[in-house]
Symmetry: C2
Subunit: 251 residues, 2 copies
């Protein structure tokens, strides 16, 4: 990124530099305000080269949306661990999501704010990504429900609604975390676990969900948080880490 | 509404007819596609009269956003009952929200889809309304937490995050309910109560939250649902209605 410029640089590398600069500019200054001049300058290339590679401001923006959407979906999928118990799976997935949105605030702003605000063509790109994530979450919840249930308490229509609620809550919390000073990825994950897993009922009665011990080195949840997290403790996928129980709140 | 036309009709009444027609047209056909011609025709007035009253398509759209936002916020505030126990309060508020969005799908589409997709000026109108609702929900949760707690387990920063999660989940579920055939306001409310109050943990263990008996005539939750709801049973604000417990799922 930045003012690197070399005639020998391969096209793919240079294109990624342009996209890096574009995501940063669109995310921080907004799609309408951002100019191709400043994007080219930030990428360290000439404006004609940006047009040559990406064609137009609209196409450049769509390329940004697609790249950021792909990265987010991959991060969430990589975070999920089907071998874990359901609550640990959810915790791992949420942590992956909030860690990614915290590390890429401009990418998240492009996806969740800019792309949805500037016309239906851009919004449709994000809608497609969102549908992918809802489907993925629905499958996770269905698998967890099948595992947990002696009898089929949760029909698939209900699970689809729960997945929508979970994704909607996660989106709102990512916006909130990225715009509220001092809120870390871990805190956002914990808030949503308390909300979605323990539920407000248990939460208000002083019974929050607690993250497992020693998983900071495991999921990357410790980004910027580090409060009360045992660093360096090894975790395994076998779910060997013991839950801290529901007796003490973790923030 | 419709093709009513009278020279003696007061301006305020006629303006509401124009707004009715505009909300319907913007909500169903989208802001870009909707034409002032069809809005005037649907309102039963001439196009010049629409411009005379509402000035421009942009101003007409902003007037629609403001009217629908005000109606939604009022419906949610009217639905909340501070004298009830916390779970009943939440149930009443959610039921009011989903009943309103189910009864006014075009208004909801204007607020949550159209207004946010067509530029920052419109999006800012919705952001202001959303902030109102988040503040209101935060206050409700803080009051409930204060009531429930012997010790202060829920600091206000955590409650702000929970309010964001709840509002985000409700928005996503309203979209889902309005676009999924057969999903009623009561079902959407129940899904969110299960998600947010009971929590996925209890839910997967077969312990959903159950709505109180006999509140259909109380909150209007029975709109289009009516499954297993005692009709005509009187409810009181004193919370006399007995919870059905957490042993059987309600859908």
């Amino acid at each position: 990124m930045g003012a690197v410029k070399s005639k020998r640089m391969p096209r793919a590398v240079r294109e990624q530099q342009m996209l890096d600069a574009a995501v940063q500019t669109f995310g921080q200054r907004g799609y309408m305000t951002a100019s191709m001049d400043e994007i080219a300058e930030l990428a360290g290339v000439s404006k004609p080269l940006v047009y040559l590679y990406l064609n137009s401001k609209e196409d450049l923006f769509i390329a940004c949306i697609r790249r950021e959407a792909k990265a987010l979906v991959e991060a969430v999928r990589a975070g999920a661990r089907p071998v874990l118990p359901a609550d640990r799976q959810l915790w791992a997935g949420l942590t992956a999501f909030f860690t990614h949105t915290a590390r890429h605030p401009d990418g998240w702003a492009v996806l969740h704010l800019q792309a949805r605000t500037h016309g239906e063509v851009f919004a449709a790109e994000v809608t497609a990504m969102r549908a992918d994530i809802v489907t993925f979450v629905t499958e996770l919840l269905l698998a967890a429900a099948r595992e947990a249930h002696r009898d089929p308490h949760l029909p698939s229509g209900e699970v689809a609604g729960l997945a929508e609620a979970l994704v909607g809550a996660a989106e709102a919390l990512a916006d909130w975390a990225n715009s509220t000073p001092g809120v870390t990825a871990r805190q956002a994950s914990t808030t949503l676990m308390n909300f979605a897993w323990a539920g407000l009922g248990d939460l208000m009665a002083g019974r929050p969900w607690s993250p497992p011990d020693g998983e900071a080195s495991d999921t990357g949840a410790g980004v910027g948080a580090g409060v009360g997290v045992g660093v360096g403790a090894e975790d395994t996928d076998a779910g060997a880490a013991v839950h801290a129980g529901r007796t003490s709140p973790v923030r």
